[in-house]
C-alpha cells in the first residue's frame, strides 16, 4: 500500500517564486510546514497554501511530497494527481521516498486573479508507462491566490505575527474573488466592508465616531470574531476602523494601500454613513474633526482613495438633494472644484479645511 505522508507547499521560506507564501492562521496560531500531514490534516482548511500571481508568473510551481509504501517489493512507481500534480517517477528506499518535488499543473496563480479554492486531490500511481493508474490516497487543501506578495502590515519574514493570516484571507479572497488588478481587488474589498452594515458593523454615532478596532493597532482578532458572528469589540466602527480594515484586507491580496487622514475640522455634505440609510451629515453633526480613508501612493490630493465608511453624493451637485449614492473607490481626492472626493465629502465651506494629511500615513500593526 502507498500513502502520502506529508505535503509541503511552502518549501522555500525565502521566496515565493516557485512555491507558496509564508503564512499563519491568526495572531496566536501558526501554519506548520508541511501544511498537509497524514492523520493530522483532515479538512481543506487544515492544509492552507497561498500563491501570489506576480511572484509565480512564468515559473514552475512545485510542492514537496513524502510518500510511503508498505510493499517491500515496490521500489519504483509513477505518481500523479490527475489535472493537478504532474506525474513523476519516485523511488522508495526502505519504504519511503523522502520529500520529492512535484510540479503543479495549472497552478492556482496561473489564472491571474484572486481566488480561494478547496481542492480534493486523488493521488494515483502506476508501475510503468504501460500500466493502468491506481488511486491510492486522497488529500484536501485550501488554496488561496493573491495578486502579489502581501504588503505591510503583512510581512514575509518567518516567525512573526504579521505573516498573512488565513483568517483574513478567508474573507479577503472571497470578497475580491475574480479581481485581476490591485484596483479591482481594493474596490471589491471596499464594497464588501461597506456592505457589512448595518448588521455586522455600523457607524459609531453614540460614541462620536470613535475608533473601536484601530486605536492604536488594528485589532484584527476581534474584528474577525465580529465577522464570524461573535461580539468582537461591538457593533460600532468609525472611519479609521474602516480605512484600516480596507487597507489591511486589500494589502493581504497584494494591494498597496495606506491609512491616511484629512482635516482638520471641516463641514460635511450629506452622506450615507456605513449602516445608515438616511442622508445626513454624519449622525447629524455639523462636521468631522478628521476623516481617514484607505489611500494610494503618497496620500495626496493627486492620489486615489477607497472609503468603506460612507457613501457620498455622486451627482453633479453633491451639496444637496437629490442624491446619487456613490461609494468612493479608486476616486481621486482632488482639489476644491474638481468634483472629486474632497468636493463630495466636504461642504463648500469645509473644503479649505479638508486637506490631505500625508504625515498621518500609516499601516497599523495587526494584533
Amino acid at each position: 500500500m502507498i500513502t502520502v505522508e506529508a505535503i509541503t507547499f511552502n518549501h522555500d521560506p525565502g521566496a515565493a517564486t516557485h512555491d507558496a507564501l509564508n503564512i499563519r492562521r491568526n495572531a496566536s496560531q501558526t501554519v506548520n510546514v508541511p501544511e498537509w500531514r497524514r492523520f493530522v490534516s483532515i479538512n481543506p482548511e487544515d492544509s492552507p497554501a497561498v500563491y501570489a500571481v506576480a511572484a509565480t508568473k512564468g515559473n514552475q510551481v512545485t510542492i514537496m511530497v513524502s510518500l510511503r509504501s508498505t510493499d517491500p517489493g515496490m521500489a519504483f512507481v509513477e505518481v500523479r494527481v490527475e489535472h493537478h500534480v504532474k506525474a513523476r517517477a519516485v523511488n522508495f528506499v526502505n519504504g519511503s521516498t523522502g520529500a520529492v518535488a512535484f510540479e503543479l499543473i495549472d497552478p492556482p496563480a496561473a489564472h491571474g486573479y484572486v481566488t480561494i479554492r478547496d481542492v480534493t486531490w486523488h493521488w494515483e500511481y502506476r508501475l510503468g508507462p504501460h500500466h493502468a493508474w491506481h488511486r491510492f490516497d486522497t488529500t484536501r487543501h485550501r488554496l488561496y491566490t493573491v495578486l502579489a506578495v502581501p504588503t505591510a502590515p503583512w510581512r514575509q519574514a518567518p516567525l512573526n505575527t504579521q505573516l498573512p493570516w488565513t483568517d483574513v484571507l478567508d474573507y479577503a479572497c472571497r470578497w475580491a474573488e475574480g479581481a485581476a488588478s490591485a484596483d479591482m481587488a481594493a474596490a471589491l474589498v471596499t464594497q464588501a466592508v461597506y456592505a457589512l452594515g448595518p448588521s455586522i458593523v455600523t457607524y459609531d454615532c453614540p460614541g462620536g465616531g470613535s475608533s473601536h478596532y484601530s486605536f492604536s493597532d488594528f485589532d484584527g482578532t476581534h474584528f474577525i470574531e465580529r465577522l464570524r458572528g461573535g461580539i468582537g469589540n461591538g457593533i460600532y466602527v468609525n472611519c479609521s476602523d474602516c480605512a484600516t480594515i480596507v487597507a489591511s484586507f486589500a494589502n493581504v491580496l497584494g494591494c498597496d494601500l495606506w491609512q491616511s487622514r484629512m482635516g482638520f475640522g471641516f463641514g460635511l455634505n450629506e452622506l450615507l454613513a456605513i449602516g445608515s440609510s438616511v442622508w445626513q451629515t454624519a449622525c447629524g453633526w455639523p462636521g468631522f474633526s478628521y476623516h481617514e480613508v484607505a489611500w494610494e501612493a503618497a496620500c495626496t490630493a493627486n492620489d486615489d482613495v477607497y472609503d468603506a465608511c460612507l457613501k457620498v453624493d455622486g451627482d453633479r451637485d453633491p451639496t444637496g438633494p437629490p442624491q446619487v449614492p456613490l461609494l468612493p473607490q479608486d476616486l481621486g481626492f482632488g482639489n476644491p472644484g474638481d468634483l472629486l472626493y474632497r468636493d463630495r465629502l466636504a461642504s463648500p465651506a469645509g473644503r479649505p479645511n479638508c486637506n490631505p494629511q500625508p504625515g498621518t500615513r500609516q499601516r497599523r500593526f495587526i494584533i
Partner: protein, 157 residues
C-alpha cells in the same frame, strides 16, 4: 499624533485651560484594575490588559442582559503623570471624528462627552473612555461616575 491635528485639537478643546492642571492633593493612581463587580447590573464580558502598551491600558467590555444588545466598552489608560494623562486625552480625542464632542464638568478633572452616550475624562493620571458598543444605546453617565468614584478613592490624599 500628527502635529497639525494636535494643534487643531488643542485649539478646539481649549487645552491651555486644562492641560497639565490637577489637584495637587491627590496622589498618582497605580495598579488600577477591574474585578468585574464594580458596575451594578453589568457583567464583565472581557478584559484585556495591555501592560506593555504606552501608556498601559485596560480594555473591557461589559454587558447587561443580552450581550448582543446592551454592551459597554470601558477603556482605561494609566499614565505616568497628570500631563501625560492630558496628552492621552488629546490622543483619544484624535480618534474621535465628531466635532460635536464638548467639554463638560462634574466628571473627572477634565472631561468631554457627546450627550450621554460617550464620556471621556481624566482623573489625576488616569484616562477613562466609556462608550456604547451595542445596538441598544444606554446612558453612560452613571457608569462614568462609578468609574470616576473608583479613581477618586484610589487617589485619595
Amino acid at each position: 499624533m500628527d502635529a497639525g491635528q494636535r494643534q487643531y485639537l488643542e485649539q478646539r478643546y481649549a487645552a491651555s485651560e486644562w492641560h497639565g492642571r490637577g489637584l495637587a492633593v491627590r496622589r498618582l493612581i497605580t495598579g488600577f484594575d477591574f474585578s468585574g463587580s464594580e458596575l451594578g447590573g453589568w457583567t464583565l464580558l472581557r478584559i484585556d490588559r495591555e501592560a506593555r502598551a504606552m501608556p498601559p491600558a485596560i480594555r473591557t467590555l461589559w454587558h447587561r442582559g443580552n450581550p448582543a444588545a446592551e454592551l459597554l466598552s470601558i477603556d482605561v489608560w494609566e499614565c505616568a503623570s497628570i500631563p501625560a494623562a492630558h496628552d492621552q486625552l488629546l490622543e483619544v480625542l484624535a480618534n474621535v471624528q465628531s466635532d460635536a464632542v464638548e467639554r463638560r464638568d462634574r466628571l473627572g478633572d477634565v472631561a468631554f462627552s457627546l450627550g450621554n452616550t460617550m464620556a471621556l475624562f481624566a482623573r489625576v493620571n488616569v484616562v477613562a473612555l466609556i462608550r456604547n458598543a451595542g445596538p441598544t444605546v444606554v446612558d453612560v453617565d452613571p457608569i462614568a461616575h462609578v468609574v470616576d468614584d473608583l479613581l477618586v478613592r484610589l487617589s485619595g490624599p
